[in-house]
Amino acid sequence: MRFAVCVKHAVDESELKIDSSGKPQLEGALARMGTFDKNAVEEALRLRTALGGEVVAITVGKAEARKSLKEALAMGADRGVHVLADPGTLDPSRTSELLAAAITRTGPFDLVICSEGSSDTYTGLVPPMLAERLGIPYIGYVRKLEVAAQTVRAERSLEESLESVESSLPSAVSVVSEINEPRYPTLIQIMQASKKPVEELTRQQLGVGDVQASVRIVSMTAQAMNRKRVVFEGSPDEAASKLVDAFASEGVIPK
């Protein structure tokens, strides 16, 4: 079976710096494969172990995005596909268009696996958009996945319920992070990842038109954390007493 797994070269939100004017410094910020994308890669590898076949990691991004593909290759993906694009020109709609074209070109795939969202912007729109463009069944927010010769059966984690869903292959899924525990690559695997094949593709090669993204960023501002940050000292009893007093005077518990 052939598995495509989509990953994003995402800015590490914990390392993102805010400048003195309150603007996030995205230029040059540390980036790596999205946190939840690791679960998507892990699931693809797990399925390859069970069913045999090939795992192809696909990303859309600038030259540096190659690093995230390497992370997926180090985890165990067989090869990579890198669609070169400036993230500044992309919105979920454009990204899904490029991914769909790359998947069609390097396919056929039995299963396309994405994470529920990227850890940076976390829109969660790309996976269903991708399935819609590919015209294949889609099962989102999967926490358990079983793939047979021609079908996929998945348990979806929704707000109020768990939903078992069945569809035929090829299908696309998005997985939630509780589905598995991503493996850490060994040093040898990390070194070997550089030798695995990565195909670079451009928008032109994929025959995707030069359309401007309809979603534009108007502004980005740091969200201030205006909290009191009062720490109560003393013995547990004294501190507890002060805390309960504070709750009462703030009106969040009855006086």
Binding site: E13, S14, L16, P24, D91, P92, S93, S96, T121, Y122, T123, G124, L125, P127, P128, M129, A131, E132, P137, Y138, R153, S157, L158, E159, E160, S161, L162, E163, S164, V165, E166, S167, V176, S177, E178, S214, V215, R216, V218, S219, M220, T221, A222, Q223, M225, R227, K228, R229, V231, F232, P236, D237, A239, A240, L243, V244, A246, F247, E250, V252
Partner: protein, 310 residues
């Protein structure tokens, strides 16, 4: 006058989405229209017109079907914006619909505004560090973050039924299990006491749960307790990928305060924390803190509450 549509398969979220649609409709001099797929729910309030899309076997429990039905109706009616409540299914509806219509899609907006040409919306990104303002020209699709808008209430108006014909579905639901707890319970809770990795054993959750009860609140947890340890159901997981909450009081017990956890609690009115590590990031996100062992502090708080109730 252009229409601004609002849809959600969840009644509670539908009423919130209607509030967002009303606000945008005023800003762009349009008319807010509530759209229902496959059924009419009297519990979904309507500020004016309600459009009910019907077809053989059409149900809003399938995001695929809902998206196709909305697409077929929107192709004719040409609404300026279609707002979809950003539940997990709702995000799929919004994504599919945007692709079908060839329009842009704004994700998880917590605030919307508009002029005559475009929709502008704000959303939290980078695990809550950044507020990003996005714009998209009409016509477009926008998902409204769950809990961001108050539920609209009001009744009356006209109900229009529209046949959209047969809509296909490529996956089928073979089983449905109600979750033990509901995320709605946490979203509605005025007080939440939440447990993290500082809690050493599953049995000790009882102590934290008892405190939640004494404060008249609900018990939540950080991601590892639900996803990795499975001590509490996933519905109790508060954070970016779990439930986003905004209670009057959020008390974090033994939670270090990773960005992704804080992203889910930052709209709380008051945040308090108990942690042994004085440098834990949760204290940066908290109004009140106690640096100490939760095994001593939690019973101490419990004792204070009991003595004051006498």
């Amino acid at each position: 006058m252009s229409e601004v549509w609002a849809f959600s398969e969840s009644v509670g979220v539908a009423n919130e989405t209607v509030s967002a649609a009303k606000e945008a409709a005023v800003a762009c001099s349009g008319q807010a229209v509530v759209v229902e797929v496959g059924r009419v729910r009297s519990s979904v309030s309507s500020p004016g017109k309600k459009l009910v899309l019907l077809g053989p076997g059409l149900t809003d429990e399938s995001p695929e079907m809902a998206a196709e039905a909305l697409y077929l109706a929107a192709k004719e009616a040409k609404p300026a914006v279609i707002f979809v409540g950003a539940t997990r299914n709702g995000k799929e509806v919004a994504s599919r619909l945007a692709v079908k219509l060839g329009n842009g899609c704004l994700p998880d907006l917590s605030k919307v505004s508009a002029d005559r040409e475009m929709l502008v919306g704000e959303r939290s990104e980078y695990a809550g560090k950044v507020m990003t303002k996005l714009s998209c020209p009409f016509p477009c699709v926008a998902a409204i973050k769950v809990g961001a808008y108050p539920a609209f209430s009001g009744s009356g108006g006209v109900v229009l039924e529209k046949e959209v014909g047969t809509v296909a579905r490529s996956s089928k639901i073979v089983a449905l299990t109600k979750k033990e707890a509901s995320t709605v319970d946490l979203r509605a809770a005025k007080v939440i006491v939440s447990a993290g990795r500082g809690v050493k054993k599953k049995e000790d959750l009882e102590m934290v749960g008892a405190l939640a009860k004494a404060l008249g609140g609900a018990l939540g947890c950080s991601r590892p307790l639900a996803s990795d340890l499975g001590w509490l159901p996933e519905e109790c997981h508060i954070g970016l990928t779990g439930v986003n909450v905004k209670p009057e009081l959020y008390l974090a017990v033994g939670i270090s305060g990773q960005l992704q956890h804080v992203a889910g609690i930052k709209d709380s009115k008051l945040i308090a924390a108990i942690n042994t590590d004085k440098d834990a990031p949760i204290f940066q996100a908290a109004d009140y803190g106690i640096v100490g062992d939760l095994y001593q502090v939690v019973p101490a708080i419990q004792k204070v509450l009991t003595s004051r109730h006498r």
